[in-house]
Structures are given as structure tokens and as C-alpha cells.
């Protein structure tokens, strides 16, 4: 009889389960989910690689990279404990579904917790992810003079390296447009360079490119902003958006990309932007790898700083 | 000293020498008369052609381990008439080590079609020195 009472009580009370995915999951803060690296603190001692029970971490000391194979990581937290400089954090997250085992590559040139995702291409899925995945990038030649100090950044027309943002958000060419949109929204940017695993710039994806792909007819991008009519056009528009979101960014990106080197003076870069109506110019280092980006916002900031300096003088 | 009370007592006693295979049935018979409970039968490959069988019994609040050394290829007496629960242990040892027990069939964990033979023997594992000797002059 007690079960009858319980059954009737359950009939009128609210459900004991969470209505996921309509309601988000709140994970406790100690939850072991994903390992992230802060490369600015990493000293490449290799303790995390040695102590990982499943050999999920591979360190690439000459290229200053750490890669974590998500398929092998068991989220035990031994790497977090063994890091002497606290460069590793354990974030409470679920693993999202993916189409191939992901390897997260943390590069010292990118922002502290940002990583690029190297998915194993399908035909290599059977291969064990490990040192084979780390590309053989030629090491920076040792005759490069290390003692040369960069020129002092005086005045408004300094070289690009003084103005650029050196932590760049990037995409791989196999990443989907959906991922590009997520990154753009999360970081309040409008365009992202697309790179390969050697940080060679292959193209740029902007919000306009995405909207142009999904738009239709002579209205183009603006067709996405028309009010919904409740007729067939709405379904067509949703379908086009869905198709666009699933495409890899290599089909949407604009390439080849106009780039500049770290020594190019700012006036040249501004002229480039004006002539070609770009909003951003990637900056490459002497080896041809992406080392920073200058967008209109960076130029505004440089102008404001220089005006402030001259007013104080 | 560390460990539970019974572990401390067990490590304080001097370790007896392992007994030959012919002693298995008499010693186990003594255990069965004392109403002991069979805990496990453990087989260890000693890598010199012999195997050590450890019969663990729990009797009167302590763990008693009987050790026997059996050479390879000899058929060992089964204790399943005294302890029916020993059948699973013996079948597993037949599968994983390739030893033989009188009247006990194998194929508990492995199937005949799998082609795997005695995987827990040291000679079956490519990384242990015993198997490298088996492979001969290739390994220096």
C-alpha cells in the first residue's frame, strides 16, 4: 500500500530528472573533464608526458607545443598534479561528439588556453596518435641572431610587430563553419585566419563570407534578414543555413590572403587595408609562419595611444 | 609493520618451502576436514619450466596459503570433488597457462577458435626475457 501512496505522490509532483538538453547541465567545479595548458607558464620539463598513465600527452620541445590526445585521456589529473609551474588546468566539461578522435594542440604562440584541434583524418584513424601526429616542422635555424633586439616601437609608423596582436585565434581547414561561428561569437571577432598544422596561412573566414554563402539571389546577404513569411521561403532559408553551417571552412574562406611581414611599417599596412577594403591583415614571421594579426581595431588603438603620448609631451 | 592483523601474523611466520604436486590432495583434504573455505587458486609462471600453484584457504579467521611447485607438462590432481567451487579456478588456469588438471575441461575464458594459447605464460609474451630467449639469436 505504501507504493500506492508513493505512486500517487509521484503523479502530481515534478519529475526527478533534468530535462537535458533543454536545461543545461551544471557540473560541480571539481569535475574532471578536459585538460588545458597555459603555454605561457610551460617550461617543457616533460613531467606531464612521463607521468601520464595512458601516454596521451606528447611534448614537442623544439616547436614549443604540447598535444593532448582526447581519445586516450582518462581525465585522471596526474598531469595537473605533477606540473611544477601550474601550467595545466582541469576544466569541468563533457566531451562533445566528434567525427574523428581529436588531438588538442597547444602552441606557445597562441593565447594561453587556446588550442587548435588536429583531428586524425579518417584513413589515419587506425594509427595510434602519438609522436607520429606531431608534424616534422624544420627547427628554426640556429644561426638566426638571437641577440638582435627588435627596433624600438616609437611613433605611429612603427613596424607591424609593435601594433599586432600576437595571440591569434585560428581555424583548421577541416573545421566546420559552425565551429567558426562559435569561436567568433565567443571572442567577439569577425574574422579568423585558416592555417595548416605548420601555421601557414591558407585563407581567411569572415562573417560576411559565411552570410554570402547562405544568402540567395540578388539580395545576397540581406536575404537572411528578411522577416519570416511562414511560407516556403523560410524553409529554404533554414535549409541553406543548415548546409552552410556544416561545410568545412576551406569551402567558404577567401584565399589567397594578402599578408605582411613583421617589419612592414604601419602606413603600408593601412594602405593595403584601404586599397583592398580588408578588415584584417595576418602578419608572418621570417619563416613564413603566422605570428600575429592586425585588424582595424589594432590600428585605432595605436592611433589613440600615440595621440595620448603626444598630448602628454 | 603494516597491513591488517592477519597480514602481520602471516608475514611474521617463516615461509615454508613449496611442496611437490603429489602433496596437493592430502593437504587440501586436511583443509576440507577443517571446514576451510577456498579463496583462490593462483598460478605463477616461474620462468624456469616450473609453475607455482598457491591454494589460498580461509580458516579460523586467517588466510592460509599452500604453495606447490609443479613442472610443466604434468597432469595435476583436481580438488573439485572436495571443493566444487575450485572448478572455475582450474579451468581458468588451463586456459591461461596451458597446464592440465585431471578430468577438468578447459575453455572457460577463451574459445578454441580464437587461436590464443596460454597467454599468461612468460614465453608467450614478446616483452619478457624468457620469450626473447625462445626467439633465439635475433635478440642479443
Amino acid at each position: 500500500m505504501s507504493m500506492m501512496r508513493t505512486a500517487l505522490k509521484n503523479l502530481v509532483s515534478k519529475p526527478a530528472t533534468r530535462k537535458y538538453p533543454a536545461e543545461p547541465v551544471v557540473l560541480p567545479e571539481g569535475e574532471r573533464g578536459r585538460v588545458v595548458y597555459d603555454m605561457s607558464k610551460c617550461i617543457f620539463c616533460g613531467l606531464c608526458e612521463k607521468r601520464c598513465p595512458t601516454n596521451a600527452i606528447t611534448m614537442d620541445k623544439p616547436n614549443k607545443r604540447q598535444s593532448v590526445s582526447r581519445a586516450k585521456c582518462i581525465a585522471c589529473g596526474v598531469c595537473v598534479e605533477s606540473c611544477p609551474t601550474d601550467a595545466i588546468q582541469m576544466r569541468p566539461e563533457y566531451s562533445p561528439p566528434a567525427t574523428a578522435p581529436e588531438v588538442h594542440v597547444y602552441d606557445a604562440k597562441l593565447t594561453p588556453h587556446q588550442f587548435t584541434v588536429a583531428s586524425l583524418p579518417p584513413f589515419e584513424r587506425a594509427k595510434v596518435a602519438g609522436p607520429e601526429l606531431m608534424p616534422t616542422v624544420p627547427a628554426v635555424p640556429s644561426e638566426e641572431p638571437k641577440k638582435e633586439k627588435p627596433p624600438v616601437c616609437e611613433g605611429l609608423d612603427g613596424p607591424a610587430r609593435c601594433v599586432m596582436s600576437s595571440r591569434v585565434l585560428t581555424l583548421f581547414e577541416d573545421d566546420t563553419v559552425r565551429k567558426a561561428v562559435q569561436v567568433m561569437v565567443a571572442n567577439h571577432v569577425d574574422g579568423l585566419p585558416v592555417v595548416d598544422i605548420n601555421l601557414k596561412v591558407l585563407g581567411i573566414v569572415t562573417g560576411t563570407d559565411i552570410a554570402r554563402d547562405a544568402g540567395r539571389g540578388k539580395e545576397g546577404i540581406l536575404s537572411l534578414l528578411f522577416p519570416r513569411t511562414g511560407k516556403k521561403e523560410d524553409k529554404d532559408r533554414d535549409e541553406r543555413l543548415r548546409v552552410t553551417m556544416g561545410k568545412p571552412v576551406r569551402e567558404i574562406m577567401s584565399s589567397p590572403v594578402i599578408t605582411a611581414s613583421e617589419d612592414t611599417p604601419l602606413s603600408e599596412i593601412a594602405a593595403l587595408m584601404d586599397k583592398n577594403r580588408f578588415n584584417r591583415v595576418p602578419i608572418l614571421d621570417s619563416a613564413g609562419r603566422l605570428s600575429g594579426i592586425i585588424a582595424r581595431g589594432d590600428i585605432m588603438r595605436a592611433i589613440a595611444k600615440s595621440i595620448e603620448k603626444s598630448e602628454r609631451m | 609493520m603494516t597491513g591488517t592483523a592477519e597480514q602481520q601474523a602471516a608475514s611474521a611466520r617463516p615461509k615454508p618451502a613449496p611442496m611437490p604436486a603429489s602433496e596437493i590432495r592430502p593437504k587440501v583434504m586436511k583443509m576440507s576436514r577443517a571446514s576451510a573455505q577456498l579463496v583462490a587458486i593462483v598460478a605463477v609462471d616461474l620462468a624456469d619450466g616450473n609453475f607455482e600453484l598457491i591454494y589460498s584457504f580461509f580458516s579460523r579467521s586467517e588466510l592460509i596459503n599452500l604453495r606447490f611447485t609443479v613442472p610443466d607438462g604434468v597432469e595435476i590432481d583436481s580438488i573439485s570433488d572436495m571443493f566444487p567451487g575450485a572448478v572455475n579456478f582450474e579451468r581458468e588456469i588451463i586456459d591461461l597457462f596451458g597446464l592440465r588438471f585431471k578430468g577438468i575441461p578447459g575453455w572457460l575464458m577463451l574459445t578454441p577458435e580464437s587461436g590464443i594459447v596460454a597467454p599468461l605464460r612468460k614465453s608467450s609474451n614478446p616483452s619478457t626475457p624468457a620469450s626473447r630467449e625462445k626467439q633465439g639469436a635475433n635478440h642479443g
Binding site: 505504501s2 507504493m3 598513465p53 582541469m90 | 603494516t2 591488517t4 592483523a5 597480514q7 605463477v44 577463451l110
Partner: protein, 360 residues
Amino acid sequence: MVSLSVTPFGPQHPSLLEPIHLKLKVEEEKVVGVDIVIGYNHRGLERAMELDFKRNIYLSERVCGICSFQHSTAYCQAIEQMAGLEIPTRAKLIRTIMIELQRMTSHLLTLGHIAEVMGYENLFMQTWRERESVMALIDRIAGNRVHYSMNTIGGIRKDVGYDTTKDIEITLMQLLPKLEEIRGVFAKDSTFRKRTVGVGVLSRSAAVKYGAVGPTARASDVPYDVRLSSYAGYGVEGIRFRPVHRDDGDSYSRSMVRVEELFQSVDLIQQSIGLLRDEPVNVPFRGNPSGEAFSRVEAPRGELFYYVKAKGEVRLDRVKIRTPTFVNVQCLAEMIPNCQLADVPVITTSIDPCICCTDR
């Protein structure tokens, strides 16, 4: 003339969580014999554990999902015994707390599962709802619901703070009245009693002969509980408990032993929290182990036995894991004959089979 037919129960069956094959010899709804076939989940873990003794802390957890902390405790205890390490009392008590919390989740799972296989979905959902509060509690303590990764050789990896112990106490206080309700249902509900009383009887002599362990043995009048051997925190001065014990040997007794053990676990956790003192939670362990050790732990299903032999290298010489269901599953040969065909799922579930432990 009665006809004999062989009905397969498993390896895939809606009432089974894991694959086990029972060949039932059936004579018109009455089962007269059974052949047990296991080995579907054999992963060769005893060999895998020989490769690296430090990695085994995490590999031993993954032998089983529902008794993962017991496996990792048994392994760490074996290595600590070989190395002669004495772990601090606080570590022993925290191990006890986590062992008992896992025992609660496991028993609630089994009780719900027994109710489910007899078609009593309401009771199944209710029991699992209470289990969720313990699982969420464990998630907050350890960072994961199933594989706690809290053990290391020499104690516990990270300390458990005052907030966490308060959290445990409050959750258990809120849980106790719900457990009382569940006990009332399991003890008195006529549907449950009709399907379990007198079904699958295991006599005392049979239990001793087969070497049965855990609640299966304790329900058949064999008071065999490894916690009496004072491993982990059970030997600490001030912890008192007595094993739960019944003598009917049928499925009802086995379920009631588990229900009583739930309350025993809550009591043990509260005693352990009261005895916690401020001290470090691990001792450093250097070098490689050598020697051999026997380590026994009371998992929710019975006695878990580890034999570890090492030779002073990173590789181990032999690791033998003897899990409780390995011996308990043989008792099915005693319990199933002479029952109705519809009783077979109930009897199989009442010994609480954990086939991934059996097959390793």
C-alpha cells in the same frame, strides 16, 4: 512423457546488464538443470597489469565500474604491503568513507535491478532516484561518478576538506528517511515477497562448498565479511560494526541483507567522519616494489582478492585478481534447478552478477 528442451538465457537478454550465457534445461516451465558459460567480456587485464605498476592504479579501477574503488584500494594495499608503508589514519578513514559510499550506490543499483526484472518498475525508479543523490555527492567529492581516481600508492591523492565532510553528512541525513521508506517496501510489499521468498534457495552447506562470498553467503548463514579483518579504516580504534546476517538463503534474504547493509554503510561513514583528525593524507613512495602480497577487500558483491608479485622493476611479475562473482556464479548451478522459468532472471540478479569482474 515430458519433453526436455534447452532454452538459452543470454548472452544478450533484456534483464541482463552484461553478457552471461545460461543454458537452461527446461521441462514444461520448470528448469531442471543449468550450464553456465562465461568469458564473453574477457579483456586479458591480468596480463595488461604486468606492464607498469604505476599505471595499474588507474587500470585496476577500470576492471569494474560498480566496484572500481575497491579494486584500486586492493591493489594499492598490496603494493603498500610489499613496500612496508604505513599509511596515515586519515587516509585509511577516507578510503573507508569512499568504499562505503560506493557500497551504497552498488546496493541501491542491485535492489532496483531486482525490482526491475520482476516487472516492478515503480520501485526500480524510486530506488534509483535515491541512488542519484549519492552519485551526485560522489561527483562533488571525487570529480567523477564512477572512477574516483582518488587512490595512490601511499594513501589518497588529495585531501577531503571540512566542506566536503559537511556535505557528506548533510546528504546522508537527507537520505536516511528515504532509505527507511525503501526498506519498508522491500520488507513488506506482497508483490516483492511473492516473487522472492523461497525462490533460489542456497543452503548453508552448499554455500561453504562453493566458497560463496558476500551477501550471497551472508544470507545463507555464513557470516563471512572481510571487513572484520581490519583493512583500511575498519581497524581504526573507534569503528564498530557487525556483519549483517540472515539464514534463509533465498532471494528475499539476499535482498534484505543488502537493504540492511545500506544502513550499516551510513553508520560507518558517520563514524569515520567523526574520527577524522588533521594530518597528511599520503606518504611518499619511491622506487619499485619487490616481493609478494595478498590483499583482500570487501567489495559490494563479496570478497575481492588480489595477489601481486614483483621483482623490483617497473614491470610486475604476476597479478591475480579473484573477484567475488567468479565464485558466486557457480552457486547458480545449485539455485536454479527446480524453479520456474520466470524465476531465472530474479535468481540471477539476486546474486548480483558483475560479469566484467568475473571475466576481467
